[in-house]
Amino acid sequence: MVKKMNDYIKDFPILNQKVNDERLVYLDNAATTQKPRAVVEAVTNYYYHDNANVHRGVHTLAERATEAFENVRTKVAHFINAPSKDEIVYTKGTTEGLNWVAAGYGRNHVKVGDEIVISYMEHHSNLVPWQQLAQQTGAKLKYIALQADGQLDMESVQQQITDKTAIVALTHVSNVLGVVNPIAKIAHITHQHNALMIVDGAQSTPHMKIDVQALGADFFAFSGHKLLAPTGIGILWGKSSLLAEMSPLEFGGEMIDWVQLQKTTFKAAPWKFEGGTQNIAGVVGLGAAIDYLEKIGMDNIQAHEQVLMQAILPELSKIKGLTIYGPQEAQERTGIIAFNLDNLHPHDVATALDMEGIATRAGHHCAQPLMAYLKVPATVRASFYLYNTLADGQRLVEGIKATKEFFKNGTI
């Protein structure tokens, strides 16, 4: 399996380069992924052959662009098993999708005294919008606790979600701990209390088969750029009944039905949310990325990352003074490893790894409340994807050992 997966590297021109005189090992995939030729070419071809504004012209190019734009909607619906393509809203990314739900749905439906439940492991983009909503509506923001190994504490889930709960918003996969949350189970509890289940799918959609219906989600948001597509395009999926009750946030061209001097009626969802000229080339790139991923198979991608984790985690665990955050068992996580070395600041470690050609990220990973919860100021994070190999994992292990040796007396 790994061997076969390794063939995909050649589809990613950017990976074929040296950084600081070493072959680049790109392990910052949780931040953004690299783009295969198929995606770059789809975008280029769109601009070379089909570029026009959508839903506007009657000319041939406009029709081609519109058809491509709407076809991707169908493709995305299939990709996440949404019941209808009309439930697929184009956004610029997860952040925008979650903000739209909080502002467009939340502000109309959440009242004083209601509760919004999130967890300590949320990315700021699934935290700050709810905090804002709570402040604006007088609702209370509550947090689900984590177990020592970083998994959601199911007892806390039971305690925090009550009949006062209006919204439960959780990440499907943590961008720091790599844990996969049991969304279907939690959605079940959420619905027993007549609340809505909102899922941040930014870190799950690139790495596993998503079925929004099986998850029991009411809204689900993800970003294209984390799954091989260009930046600036993302998806918000919502149940059609909920999208109908959700207000658009951007008014203007494209999203209207009939504009009179004193009032306007809007198109139906998803178009009522898509005010102004859209990121059409981004949509085309997203379509190409989904084709590419589906050709490999999401299950194969997930299995490949498991193979990598099974091999790398035990090697890392052997390094003295290295702490890995989150579950220690490979089966319980995706290809994200957050870690620290004793007496070394993560920034210093990431700079040293960069000198060895290994791209990782150091910092709070947009999860400051989680860092406070873990009682660390920051961590290093290595995140793998389908084009990473066992050799990349080995380079990371060796790189960390060399870093430890370089700073053998500690830096802090």
């Binding site: 100021p377 370089f406 830096t411």
Partner: protein, 157 residues
């Protein structure tokens, strides 16, 4: 390349300052106190300054950070004691220029031992780590509100 280039950044003196920072802690008498964050990494720096007769009489810093931010803070505290706010403003600008690769004949005279941090210029991702403490002292003693001076610091806000 491996790690040899790292020695340009992590010079012995820098490692020593980070391991045993000077003026670390807090002051009994404080005229100015400021807390600055590096939003990209979450590092926090608290700076206390005692001004007497228009000069920095004592200074202390606290907080968590990487080697570069800790060493830079430690060196900064050594260099600014006895200086006036106007002198400090000049030093901060010189430091900011140095870590972005613009050293002048005056750099060493203005910055003393802190000149050793010039190597940061080769590691653009670490410039903010180095400048945090200098931005803090600049704001703490703010001599003038000259936009021009502030403008020079904007590359790393």
């Amino acid at each position: 390349m491996a790690l040899s280039k790292l020695e340009n950044l992590y010079r012995q003196m820098i490692l020593e300052h980070a391991a045993h920072p000077h003026h670390h802690g807090s002051l009994k008498k404080t005229s100015q106190k400021i807390e600055l964050r590096n939003p990209t990494c979450g590092d926090v720096l608290t700076l206390e300054v005692e001004l007497k007769d228009g000069k920095v009489a004592d200074i202390a810093f606290a907080g968590s950070g990487c080697t570069i931010s800790q060493a830079s803070a430690s060196m900064m505290t050594d260099e600014v004691i006895g200086k006036t706010p106007a002198q400090i403003a000049k030093m901060v600008v010189a430091f900011s220029e140095m870590v972005t690769g613009k050293e002048t004949d005056e750099t060493e005279e203005l910055l003393g031992d802190a000149t050793i941090l010039a190597g940061v210029a080769q590691f653009p991702a670490r410039i903010k780590c180095a400048t945090l403490a200098w931005k803090a002292v600049y704001q703490a003693v703010k001599a003038d509100d000259s936009k021009a001076t502030l403008g020079l610091l904007h590359h790393d806000v």
